[in-house]
Subunit: 270 residues, 2 copies
């Protein structure tokens, strides 16, 4: 049984386009509705309660548009809101935390794993929990890197400033002997080069986007929700702020123009 | 006739506490209701339309609590939303753009004035317009400094990173011969030292907070709205996200604990 309904992908803003891209490549027959809550971005500095409310409104918006599954592409929303939301959703759902944690556990030889993310993601403890659920006895060191998001969004990834900021944050991993680092925020892959240079060779960087796409495909298959194919699929992007900045910065993430981009109001969606 | 009603001060988040402090010092008999829209901060990267909607919701929230005058402490909201809102308000109102522009025009000898602010404030052209209304023939150079807000909020003002970022942004003023620079965002006074060092001696830095407090006092007096008084006034702080971060970061701005802090929902206020 093929299911032609779309997959919903939700992010606090633009960064989730890395997950969108991986999903679209992994599941070329699936139509994707992407929602970026650009009018309230960022989530990473906000409270659990507020992130929870925003994530519920976004999920409801996408459900009303007939999605068959929900992928939460935002690490902060995955960490703070998805666990409580998941049981209430009428469709299968997946965040980026578990796929990233699974992948890190597979890649790490020593079991000493580092995680970087927003203030809210790190404070939640979601990554260490998910990693230890997968690999008991793993030693996890988690460090918040709040300035990485604005640096990535402003296009400062290749600057001396980015190097100094990375050195300051990543000093927290010195002497911990990690062999694997989870890039626990969708913006961080844009800083992959500088993070890699500062950490030095021999440390694997885990980008959740690929791992999430793979687990999303498994989730659809397990639930008999895969689409059949044939014709070109028609993705749809929704944003809550004006689309101008999304188009500009989005190209840095996607490397292609965003067709079917629409501004919507999801406030009080329910 | 003394008017005991409170003054409303609105900001996108925490930065407006610098304006609150200047107002409370200048008008010690006035009770102030401060509203920080911390659930949707920052405004400086968002569109005019969205900033307009948020500012209207905030104004309505404060009006329903009986304010006699509104001070918009956020530069972005003052630049993008206040001009269209001002005519519709039932009470006198004041933003931070005009007071900052007036002060810069008074201080500048050469008439060559620099302005720094968020992306949205600079794109709006509000400061150059306000400066030229006050001093025809002024030469204004305006530069957006988007990374200054996260640097200030994260407490990185006194770092090598802040110096490099300041050097990069402020290079836009080289050869312009400015003698005065408007700090056109409430966060920037936290970076006053590094900005001053990078620009070198002989350039006056204008912080709108003091100028706004002075003009707010004049506005109240002109409209016969000053309070009388005696007893200690009782300020009230409202935030739209949880108050924990506001309390933490707020102390960096205010240097004292925030009594009477309350979380509220202003969505769809009208």
């Amino acid at each position: 049984m093929a299911d032609p309904r779309p997959i919903g992908v939700f992010d606090s803003g633009i960064g989730g386009l890395t997950v969108f891209r991986a999903l679209a490549a992994r599941l070329p027959r699936e139509r994707i509705l992407y929602l970026g809550d650009t009018a309230r971005v960022p989530y990473g500095t906000k409270s659990r309660e507020t992130v929870d409310r925003y994530t519920r409104e976004s999920a409801r918006f996408l459900l009303r548009r007939g999605i068959k599954a929900l992928v939460v592409a935002c690490n902060t929303a995955s960490a703070l809101a998805l666990p409580s939301l998941q049981g209430e959703l009428p469709v299968p759902s997946l965040g980026v935390i578990d796929p990233g944690a699974h992948r890190a556990c597979r890649l790490s030889e020593s079991g000493r794993i580092g995680v970087i993310g927003t203030e809210a993601t790190i404070r939640s403890g979601a990554y260490p929990e998910a990693i230890r659920r997968t690999r008991a006895g793993a030693e996890v060191t988690a460090v918040a890197c709040p300035l990485f998001v604005p640096l990535a969004e402003e296009g400062w990834a290749e600057t001396e400033v980015a190097r100094l900021v990375a050195e300051s944050y990543l000093a927290g991993f010195r002497g911990r002997g990690i062999d694997t680092l989870v890039l626990g925020c969708t913006h961080y892959p844009l800083l992959r080069d500088v993070i890699g240079r500062v950490l030095g060779e021999g440390i694997r960087l885990v980008d959740s986007a690929e791992a999430t796409a793979t687990e999303a495909a498994e989730m659809l298959e397990k639930n008999a929700l895969l689409a059949e194919g044939g014709e070109a699929v028609d993705h749809h992007f929704f944003v809550t702020d004006s689309s101008r900045r999304f188009e500009e910065v989005g190209s840095r993430f996607l490397g292609m123009p965003l067709a079917r981009l629409e501004q919507v109001d999801i406030t009080g969606e329910g």
